[in-house]
Point group: D2
Chain length 434, copies 4
């Protein structure tokens, strides 16, 4: 892990010291995944520094070997360095606690908030950036919005092989302790190069880029889609949902002990409200809720804080909808409300895709450069990438209480033994069967 971060600009130091950026120390990079991979306790703060550092190294290489002074059109203009580094550092500054789930329940949007934090005159970040020159904050934001005119800058921060992804794959692999996410960053930095249309890689580095795509695929299926982390996400989602419901009936219990969440429960929040949140704030409120009277709020808080994940099995979305109904009603029979204690959860991701004009989500495809300058799209020359290109990876799972399959947890086993037998008869080799 590139633990040493080389900072050469005072602006960067000031941004790191800003309160909006320091807040990222209190937000875990991987959310509930740290509950599965116990080493993965790193924050969005250290990831953001890492993206900065990889970008800095790319700028150094571009300036040394491919500056516009040396190779002319398509070369790197080192005047772009500061804006690139600021965008790299700040690209995730709009993230909040347990982003994915929180956004879903409270309709926040971390990308929009990133732009807002950079461009609001009252943030420390804006003030630091604006001291560089008037309009600089907006320029930095435009890189993150992919509207900046220089595609080299945009692609370094945001493409299918950018400083962001390279850092998080290596970092998450290091801290989860898996070997899967490792790829040869040093080699990739040897072959990366600018061209007029953005960023490309020398053809002799094809296998290093291919290995990066394979690592990305492995991290998705092995780490990011881990069934236990998702089980905890399901509990969190149901818990926040329940809080919204309880709030409608009894606002006081929140206003006393959970003040910073009120604007979100009210569905009327400002950027300042958002910047007060972090993982610890949510966890502390769940801790407070252990003392509340609503039994669902209390039990889900207990399960989340003390890591009591739901269990799950794979199922087939096309053909097993009806069977799911049966499973849910069996869960209900044993006394669990299926709305809060069962769920279906899908995880899908595209490890790589080439440009498809017909697609509604355009991707910048990865291109390799031959000696004569010709560009070749990656999946054309790598059969491994071809096998993954355009193939959504993931699975669909049905979640249910552990009590359904682990009878040692059940005080009332005798009462429901027939129900348990029926339930278990539908699970075989980790999947739902008729």
């Amino acid at each position: 892990m590139h633990q040493y971060i080389h900072v050469q600009h005072q602006v960067i130091l000031d941004l790191i010291d800003s309160k909006e950026f320091q807040r990222l120390r209190r937000i875990k990079q991987l959310g509930t995944a740290s509950l599965t991979f116990h080493g993965a306790e790193h924050s969005r703060f250290s990831h953001s520094l890492g993206v900065y550092e990889i970008s800095r190294r790319i700028c150094d290489i571009f300036h040394r070997n491919y500056s516009v002074e040396k190779i002319g059109t398509g070369g790197w203009d080192d005047g772009e360095r500061l804006i690139t580094l600021c965008a790299a550092l700040l690209h995730d500054v709009g993230h909040g606690p347990y982003s994915h789930t929180f956004e879903h329940i409270f309709q926040t949007n971390h990308e929009a908030l990133t732009v807002q934090i950079i461009c609001s005159p009252k943030t420390e970040i804006y003030q630091i950036l604006n001291r560089v020159e008037a309009g600089f904050p907006e320029k930095v934001a435009s890189v993150i919005q992919k509207k900046y005119p220089n595609p080299q800058v945009i692609q370094m921060i945001s493409s299918q092989i950018d400083a962001d992804r390279m850092d998080y794959l290596l970092r998450d692999a290091y801290f989860t302790g898996t070997e899967y996410g490792t790829f040869d960053l040093t080699r990739i930095l040897q072959v990366i190069r600018p061209y007029q249309g953005g960023i490309t890689f020398g053809m002799n580095g094809m296998h290093a880029v291919e290995d990066y795509i394979v690592s990305r695929y492995q991290m998705y299926v092995q780490v990011y889609f881990h069934p236990t982390s998702r089980a905890m996400e399901v509990i969190l989602e149901h818990l926040l949902q329940r809080a919204k419901e309880v709030y409608l009936e009894n606002k006081e219990i929140f206003s006393n002990h959970s003040p910073l969440l009120i604007p979100f429960l009210e569905n009327h929040f400002t950027m300042d409200d958002y910047l007060r949140l972090d993982d610890g704030v949510l966890n502390t409120y769940f801790n407070h809720w252990l003392d509340e009277s609503d039994s669902l709020l209390k039990d889900l808080s207990y399960r989340f804080l003390n890591r009591k994940p739901l269990k799950s099995c794979r199922f087939d979305k096309q053909n097993q909808e009806k069977l799911l109904q049966t499973m849910r009603s069996l869960v209900e029979k044993t006394g669990f409300n299926p709305t809060y204690y069962t769920a279906v959860h899908s995880s899908f991701d595209l490890p790589y895709d080439f440009y498809r004009p017909e697609s509604n989500k355009q991707r910048t495809q990865i291109e390799l450069q031959e000696k004569d300058g010709t560009l070749v799209e990656l999946s054309k020359v790598s059969q491994l990438v071809e096998a993954l290109a355009g193939q959504g990876q993931g699975d669909q799972r049905f979640y249910f209480p552990k009590e359904m399959v682990d009878f040692s947890l059940q005080d009332n086993y005798d009462l429901f033994s027939e129900t348990y037998k029926q339930f278990n008869a539908h699970i075989h080799n980790g999947a739902l069967i008729e």
Copy 2:
């Protein structure tokens, strides 16, 4: 890092899943050091698993090579395995948030709390242990209290070279990214062996043990005593102190928004109260206090949450007390209350010491075993350890606001320029001078 933890007993799995143990996930191993070493965001949870894992490996080695059946008196009785592993796993379960500082301000004691958590019939941990056999919780506690009859078990968990220290040195080195804390655990595990009086090491492993002591020394002076982490500890201490003072005048502001801290502010807390606390709870309350009217409470909360460390210089305790007074009054002249914005802070540790009958803190000395069974104390055969033995390592620092030396932070520089000049004239090469 031994990321794979091998668990062979259901008891261990149940202990890990207990709510008292899961709580350690929310307490950082290194407290404020993560504000200096940004990678060091690991928790007491993962450290505790690591101590368990090293102990398990030692038990395996003892059982394979030195079981009492094989070598007789002085050999390892594998009937001690479960108690050893439980004590290893639970040895830190009484730690709270920012332990060192919190204990100092609120008179808590993590060692006593560890024993209490293990021995209180209402904790999940007690119930799990008591299912093994009646009296088992008390036995586990007695290991941690160093009262258990078998010295091999005690020394594996607690001595100058135990599973606890071996894990935290390697783990903290890994996550801070330093090279200093690394030593050759594999080699140490090859030469570790039981004897009647406890644990010893084969003489041929002398240099591995020596290197462990040197690594410990390096981690202390380089990581644990880092001036910036201590600067943040100073702020935290002053902040909690200020909260106590404010509470005496105005209890309501805390009872509303900081409920879980009340028992401690009241100086009347139970173990249950203690088990509700974690890093996030304290940070969240500091976050709430940003909205309070007491300007000291508010400013110190801001400085802690947003990492605004004090600056410092070394000084000589013997001869510079009077000069410190001058420095404090110069700080006061510029408008900072020296009670809250200056401090002296000492960090000292003994990397190793041999047994000294006259000392009030007895240490189990490290002994090496010759081929003929003779034991030799480590510092007798290692000149490096001899150089460190009995030598307190550390330094004393005077802390003050960064504003005193960084004029860019001062709006009122012109007003106080003479005071600043005087102050800075007394700091040279990082130390206080006349």
Copy 3:
């Protein structure tokens, strides 16, 4: 890298100390690849220890978790341990210097020689093994010949995922410094298990096994097939070929200074003759040949010893045979004998294949085990492996003197400038074109 090798049997220690095994210290594992990857200077000796060590760890796991006493039929019989470890240690003992090339020129066969060394009563290895029990050497040999009755033992030493391959991939990756060959050995050892038909892996370890296949593929295309290593192989092959030709005309020059090679030049060698050879012997004779009068022998020796590789380009075997003729004649025009200074060289390998009854080379396919015991072939559940299965990987290259493309090496450039231009016009983006 598992640098610590745990030896528990005196037999294994004695085998390691035997002169036939010590000789492997003087034979590089990767032959000419160390001339491309300068760190890859490790020997077949350390690889053989590594295969032993991985096998030992597998035996430990099988014995602990899957012994025949515990799980009955299909379990591991620890009485097989010693034979397994001996076969693991000795599986490569018949390798000679630069095996691939040497075998090709002198018709030796390292597999047959391995068996012969183990079974010849006069070798130290035979005598050590025979002390275990009469017939033991032949049993060990039968494992290597895949004739031993227990398929678990055979597959641990020799299958598509065996201790041999796992060690060399990790070892070669470590010493070449690539990241490509790394896979998660710890994870694979967690899911490996015996069954009646041999060795299988738990389904939950699918991605670890998949990653191993991908790593194997990457090591082939990136390291083992590297064009420069193959260029040095071409030179070595031509050099040994030339020695055979010169020997027919003038035996004395060899009998004086290259005595240990005579039996091979005579095409009449014994196992004892073979056991005298190592990398240093061949290199020393090449060194001697620098003083001989045959200019081809001398020049090829110079080029091999001082690493002057040929250059190369890819070509298409189907359609470019005629063009190759043109290229060769252009080389000849500039004064190089194309028999010795050009070559076509193909490298192909199958990273993985499932069982194909119709194939003449049967492979043991990799199978994963579901919870209910069902076995599933790997490529059925991994799309990455499916993409690689049965697909020969590699390329074909035309080799020629560097002088043809690097004119700075040519004293007589003016004389042949037209020839050079023609030659270079046929090479574009590293491949042959019309």
Copy 4:
């Protein structure tokens, strides 16, 4: 390990490709130590590249942060870069096979030969260097001879903390698999800086430099002084000594089969003769000598090639000279010639020393720089270094045949059992006793 070597000058590429430099591939860095640490099979070639690479990184840092243009007097003049890099790469080019022992027996001198190889007009190295400018080879040689006017250049290549030592400690640690030799190179490169008198280190890097000295000490006592490697050195020394004696009586047997060694046996060799030697040449001649009639030559060759080390025990030079005589005569009684089968062998090294005007071997002491520019000698501020400074580390051992203590090797045990008993009675806990 810094496997990627960045070469920016054609001169460096040409030097690497020269035959004098390529020859280093065939000479192991650690000689007989690879017979103790089986992974340590790396060559002087890869070490030399490593020293080049560290020097290149230091030049980059000096140029970026401390160029003479920026900081004036005492700054780094980047015009020195090429000469520095050439000296770094070539500093060991005069090494031969098993240097230490070979030099001792044949009176060669690798430092003088390094200078000769660089300055002889007929070497490829000279020709490459002389193309830079007339006189350049001599300048490069003067750096190695410590006569070059710029002390920064000299100290980067040769001082108590130079690129040479930093590379070999890290490299030897990596390949032996020990943890002892690791220190934080990245950190040292952050604090290294030029000054008028040479090279110094920022005071804030004190502990990194201290740790380097401790690592150096550890590598000496743990790896470089390992008793088994020295046992093999003793055999090699006796073998070469015996060859000289036999040669005086019978030159033919060498002239036929060991031609490249003749000039050395004749004690009349040229640089060209020396450049023909490598590890493989010596080993091949030992292999040839297995067929000779002199039984000592034959047996010592067998023992060296097949790794049959002598055994040893520590002894006290002052007081045990007489006892050594007894031990030697006991060895003789059992039939071993003590001249060839016993030895005393001392290994001593000074891990660090400060400048001592009275010493005959001047050392450049390591100095740290305070903020105000003051230099402080290392042992003044580090108690660990103080403990090691000026203290010779090492031990003295008496070597004897393994047969004296391992009776399983002795066919004639009954005959000499009394002698063996007497011999063994004098060895206790690995040391000689009365």
